[in-house]
């Protein structure tokens, strides 16, 4: 702007032309900019709206079916009446089993990768493996679980098989979150500990892991939400259409929320009749997953407030 002002006094025809053109290109630039911002804003809006839309749709259709009896009773009359209590419980068991299996395994793997492993071919192969595991479709995990746990190891279709299958599915999420949390622990903490003549293992166990644990848990909870909501991995390995009794051991089949929705909506004889139950079950499942995520968010904000480095 200053340059333009200083040349004003000796404005020749040529300069006037240049100035005119600069003005034109400037307005064009602002036009492009506002178009681009508009596109960006629109894409953010579409995402927010679709999430809101799904939630509103499920709540609107499902809220009528949900009451205390729905949450605490067995299904009745070929699933057309009654509640979904066994499915809620089944999903709880399956998810808990998946956590018990994959959390320790995932944390140990990430400690190896981020603290011990030196960069080389083996580590690269392991990483490629983990990243690819994250991209495998969930139905493939289901078939894998069927082949390995149900058939080969002869666990049968049961909580154990389903939990292991879900656990493997969420391993990449847990490993990713744990590695990130471990890397976020300042290197100076490790140095300080090692310089005191503390061994590497003790340094990891006493300093690195405690400081990374909140981050590990937050990231892992998001994986747990996914495990609770998946249908395909459990349909061949754990889920039953209907069980008259609650499971007695980890070798029993269970009902599960996502599978319950799936069978009511596709395979039942009263698909139209059971619509309210389907939406009600979907609402319960979404509420469950969102509340698990909410816990993760609360933990994270609590840690951020307490973070002291």
């Amino acid at each position: 702007m200053n340059a333009v002002a200083s040349t004003d006094t000796a404005l020749t025809g040529v300069e006037a032309g240049l100035k005119e053109r600069a003005k034109g290109s400037r307005s064009l630039r602002y036009f492009k900019q506002s178009v681009f911002f508009g596109v960006l804003r629109l894409s953010a809006l579409i995402i927010a709206l679709s999430l809101g839309g799904i939630l509103a749709f499920i709540i609107f259709n499902g809220i009528g079916a949900v009451n205390w009896a729905f949450l605490t009773e067995f299904p009745r009359d070929s699933m057309t009446k009654g509640g979904i209590m066994p499915a809620i419980l089944g999903t709880f068991y399956l998810t808990l089993g998946a956590i018990l299996f994959s959390l320790p395994l995932g944390i140990m793997c990430s400690i190896y990768l981020s603290e011990y492993a030196r960069y080389g071919r083996i580590v690269r192969i392991i990483r490629i493996g983990i990243n690819n595991l994250a991209g495998v479709p969930s139905v493939v995990f289901g078939l894998f679980g069927l082949g390995v746990f149900v058939v080969f190891l002869q666990f049968g279709s049961c909580i154990l098989s389903g939990s292991l299958t879900l656990g493997i599915m969420i391993l990449p999420t847990i490993i990713g979150a744990s590695e990130e949390a471990l890397r976020a622990v300042p290197q100076t903490f490790r140095e300080a500990s090692l310089a005191l003549g503390v061994s590497k293992w003790q340094t990891i166990f006493r300093i690195v892991l405690p400081n990374a644990l909140p981050g590990i848990l937050t990231g892992s909870i998001l994986g747990i939400g996914r495990a609770a909501g998946e249908t395909a991995p459990i349909m061949f390995t754990a889920a039953a259409f209907f069980t008259a009794k609650l499971p007695h051991s980890i070798f029993d089949e269970v009902m599960a929320l996502p599978y319950h929705i799936y069978v009511l909506a596709t395979a039942g004889t009263h698909i139209e009749q059971t619509r309210p139950i389907q939406y009600g079950t979907a609402l319960v499942l979404v509420a469950l997953v969102l509340s698990v995520d909410l816990v993760a968010i609360l933990i994270r904000s609590y840690i951020r407030r307490k973070k002291r480095w």
Binding site: F189, A195, G197, S199
Partner: protein
Amino acid sequence: METYDFDTNIVIARSVNFFYGSFRALTDINVGFERNKVTALIGPSGCGKSTLLRLLNRMNDLIDGARVEGEILFEGKDIYAPNVDPVDIRRKIGMVFQKPNPFPKSIFSNITYGPKLSGNCSNLELDALVEQSLKAAALWDEVKDILGKSAMTLSGGQQQRLCIARALAMKPDVLLMDEPTSALDPISTAKIEELIDELKRTYTIIIVTHNMQQAARVSDYTGFFYLGKLIEFNRTEKIFTNPDVRQTEDYITGRFG
């Protein structure tokens, strides 16, 4: 090159070369660090002084692709010999870093962390050890009523003295200090310098510093490094008044660096 004897020198480096991958960071370093004296290592950034310091307690082991040639003798024994556990070396040769790095624990636990893990301390002894270490680091009066509070609530200068106390709690023989005051204000710096003067009665101190006045104030011996070589090693008065080597004089008078 003059030779160093083990009676007066607690740490001796002999023909030490150090490589980061193919980059040669130190070339043929021969130096002895005298017991109960303060030795300052000075020189421009990247000259290798911090590298040498971190070699003395094997902190450079943490770096991938690092390689040491030559010998570093601590009380006559090569600390890079294959049967030596770096953990043992670091218990005898403590370190204080450039930025204060207390653990996000209480003041008390910061001090007891090392002694507890090295095992051989009862709880009663720990209480005494905390007091003794904090007194030695001239921090006791400021924190004696808040030992349970997080170390992160202390000021930068207090944190650095806590780090010194933490290192002293391991009862080391040598204390390495890597620019311990570069992140501190002048008042905190003065306190640490006073402390160094106090500590040399009990410990051998080797300090890396960018601040030449600091080297002149606190040290008995000074080594000047340039491009990975030890250019001159002499008594501090000599280095700062009448150095033998032209390069040293140029650096000290601010002609380069």
